[in-house]
């Protein structure tokens, strides 16, 4: 499975973990990009196209909510499915992010299979 995926998280350790889980799940990571916050992600998306975005919520400068808001307000970028990976599993937060356009929500802690399942479902739906 060769997809272009962008991982957005202010923790390099978490980005590394997500990358490793994807690798173990059989995803080809030759085109996996990383950003430390929403602003960096948007800059990167100005020059690189990706098939999916995996983003944290709590980040400095531009958080995940604002990133989703910017993505949904952009005619081109709104078609990229965004999946939220967060410790926050409150129903209020999940509803809010889904309204903002999140196509999937993974709550930390998660099992590697959960990430794979959500990614495959989201990427599959995007390709339908």
């Amino acid at each position: 499975m060769a997809y272009r995926v962008l991982i957005v998280d202010d923790s390099p350790a978490m980005r590394s973990f997500v990358r490793r889980v994807m690798e173990l799940s059989g995803f080809d990571l030759s085109n996996c990009f990383e950003a430390g916050d929403g602003a960096e992600a948007l800059r990167l998306l100005g020059s690189e196209w990706v098939d999916a975005i995996l983003t944290d919520i709590n980040m400095p400068r531009m958080d995940g909510e604002e990133l989703l808001r910017r993505l949904s307000g952009d005619e081109l970028l709104r078609s990229i499915p965004a999946i939220v990976i967060s410790t926050d599993a409150t129903s209020t937060r999940i509803d809010r992010l889904t309204t903002l356009g999140a196509k999937g929500y993974i709550t930390k802690p998660f099992l590697p299979e959960q990430l794979r399942e959500v990614l495959e479902r989201t990427l599959g739906a995007a390709n339908d």
């Binding site: 923790s11 350790a13 709590n58 926050d88 599993a89 409150t90 937060r93 930390k108 802690p109 998660f110």
Partner: protein, 161 residues
């Protein structure tokens, strides 16, 4: 929320985070992680209720946990990476507790901060609104303290926050 409910949320969160994300098999109880060579991290949260999670972990256990999370050998993980992973561990445990405590409120989690040795033991003193839980890991221990601010304590009992 009672202290018992908060403790149950803390225990379950510690276990689930360590098992799912760090591939560890924690055992409840045993000696605490309040050692001189340990690492302590605090994550404050703002919402209803507000409070903080403080986590202390022995040095050897911290290195192992970091190596397992990063998928690297212990020898190749430096202290900065170890601190970063333990901050992420505290962040996940704190988020997990809050999701169990209140599913309707939006909480704001502050960035995890490393505590200096002079200050962190205070967070592990028993008190009203504060619960403490210790687990044994393969080569050390982890002690976590969860404290909530909006708690009415009986007269004469010191608030844990």
């Amino acid at each position: 929320m009672t202290d018992e409910e908060l403790l149950a949320a803390l225990r379950e969160s510690v276990r689930q985070v360590l098992e799912k994300m760090f591939f560890a098999e924690p055992l409840d109880g045993g000696s605490t992680a309040l050692e001189a060579d340990g690492l302590a991290v605090r994550v404050a949260f703002d919402g209803s209720p507000s409070g903080a999670l403080v986590l202390a972990i022995t040095d050897a256990a911290a290195r192992r946990v970091a190596a397992d999370f990063l998928g690297e050998d212990e020898s190749s993980v430096d202290s900065a990476q170890t601190s970063e992973v333990i901050c992420e561990l505290a962040n996940m445990i704190c988020g997990s507790i809050l999701s169990r405590v209140e599913s309707q409120t939006i909480f704001r989690l502050a960035s995890p901060t490393i505590l200096s040795a002079d200050h962190w033991r205070f967070h592990f003193e028993p008190g009203c609104g504060r619960v403490i839980h210790t687990v044994q890991l393969e080569n050390g221990s982890l002690t976590a303290s969860a404290e909530i601010q909006e708690k009415l304590c009986p007269t004469g009992e010191k608030s844990g926050y």
